[in-house]
């Protein structure tokens, strides 16, 4: 084990270096650029044996990755924002074809107006494509989850592509000490490339033909079943990884000081670190607050979250993205899934940090204390969804 000081993007590149990837292809876009910059250096210097294919667009990047992966190659690509939106159709092709591919999504706002700062709208825009969706809190988790995703996506119970989200600049360009596992450990952890079929011109196969509607619907159902199966696989893989490296993340969610909490703060991504600090401060002040981190957004960890929500008085969900005309994406999920609970907690959603607006200790502190006090006094909240506007 070696500790290196790495940005989030370099942590992704380190993970890809360790994961014995056959092919890397990507088109540069801020804030993703330094991932592929570093990987192309590795290829150029012979540090890794992967091939690097330069393409003229993100659509082509995923199309090339898809083509290579169809023929048994372990591939990696990365993008952000408008680049991810440009890939959109190919995301459906890859997932529908049941081909494992790992992609890093360095989250960034979507224009207009032009903006390179962080929010989760680009990531959330792709929640319905059939991709596994993980999100990292810090650079260590970036590295570990990237490695884990290769294993999860190539598990025969899953056979779906997976994306890892990391916050643009907040993680991608911020340096932290990161434990980098030994090559032989990752090699033993990742089995040889596995996929449901391969199209290398050896076997006569056609892909994407017009099937009967009934067959097509069964294929869609199979994706849903595999998503459900993935929940178990994600937990198994995380447990095995923790035995090898000493680092586990609890599978689909992480609970911070949840066991005796009356109030839960829910979030995803880099700002969960700040939430944990605020939680510690609030505990010192006598507030029984815990933090629930969403580590996997797809499959959505319904059962795990229901367990944590049971007996809780209030839940405050922070979203860094919104479905215009509706609610924040995580807020929507928590509301829908908690319907199963006999006695539900008060659930409020806050949209914050869009377009890279800073959300720090003070903002979290005010929102959480305000929420807890209101629920304690009235037993409900006047406003179930609000925007934390700047200024």
């Amino acid at each position: 084990m070696v500790v290196k000081v790495l940005t989030g993007n370099y942590a992704v590149a380190e993970a890809v270096r360790l994961s014995n990837v056959d092919l890397i292809t990507a088109y540069p876009i801020t804030p993703q650029t330094t991932i592929v910059e570093r990987l192309s250096e590795y290829v150029d210097l012979g540090v890794i044996k992967s091939r690097f294919i330069r393409v003229e667009s993100e659509f082509s990047a995923l199309a090339v990755a898809y083509g290579a992966a169809l023929c048994n190659a372990r591939v990696f690509t990365a993008t952000s924002s408008h680049g991810l939106l440009y890939m959109h159709e190919m995301l459906w092709w890859v997932a529908g074809s049941r081909i494992p591919i790992v992609m890093a999504v360095v989250t960034r706002s979507i224009g207009p107006p032009w903006n390179i700062w962080d929010e989760h709208s680009d990531f959330m825009d792709h929640r319905d494509c059939g991709w596994l969706m993980a999100f990292a809190e810090d650079n260590q988790e970036v590295l570990d989850t990237t490695i884990q995703l290769f294993r999860i996506t190539e598990d025969e119970r899953v056979y779906l592509p997976g994306m890892l989200g990391l916050d643009g600049f907040l993680l991608s360009h911020t340096s932290e000490p990161v434990d980098v596992p030994e090559e032989h450990i990752v090699k033993s952890f990742l089995k040889p490339r596995s996929q449901p079929y391969s199209m290398c011109g050896v076997e006569l196969l056609t892909l994407g033909n017009l099937p009967k509607a009934e067959d097509h619907m069964m294929m869609k159902y199979d994706i849903q079943v595999s998503m459900e199966n993935a929940k178990k696989v994600i937990k198994e893989v995380d447990l095995e990884y923790s035995k090898l490296t000493g680092r586990g993340y609890g599978g689909l969610i992480e609970c911070y000081r949840c066991s005796d909490s009356k109030y839960l703060v829910v979030g995803m991504g880099g700002w969960v670190g700040t939430m944990k600090d605020v939680c510690d401060d609030l505990r010192d002040l006598g507030y029984k607050v815990g933090v629930l981190k969403v580590r996997f957004f797809r499959p959505f960890p319904e059962e795990d979250i229901i367990e944590v929500l049971r007996g809780v008085k209030g839940v405050l969900v922070f979203d860094r993205s919104v479905s215009y005309g509706s609610l924040g994406h995580i807020h929507t999920e928590i509301l829908a899934r908690s319907y199963r609970l006999g006695s539900r907690p008060v659930i409020k959603g806050i949209i914050a940090g869009l377009a890279g607006v800073d959300v720090g200790v003070r903002e979290f502190m005010n929102s959480i204390v305000g929420f807890v006090n209101e629920v304690e006094e009235r037993g409900y909240v006047g406003n179930y969804s609000e925007w934390l506007l700047p200024g």
């Binding site: 049941r98 449901p196 079929y197 199209m199 056609t206 033909n209 099937p211 294929m219 199979d222």
Partner: protein, 87 residues
Amino acid sequence: MSKTHILPISRPSIGVGGKTGYWRVKKPEVNHSKCIRCSMCWLYCPDSVIDVIEGSDKYVVINYNYCKGCGICSEVCPTKAIVMVDE
């Protein structure tokens, strides 16, 4: 190939889509005396249902089980040796 998943792939084989010749409303007929054995019909047939047989009096052979009657062979034939007739 994985047996645990329902996959969007298929194995192409002759007749896997049924006898598609039934779709036809017009049928290509070959006048062998006008045929100059250029093989343009064989080259252009989008369904690969035309065979050419070297040394035969009937150089062009069309498999009517799968010919959908699109008429491309008739269009490309330089001597109009192939004509479309009603079924």
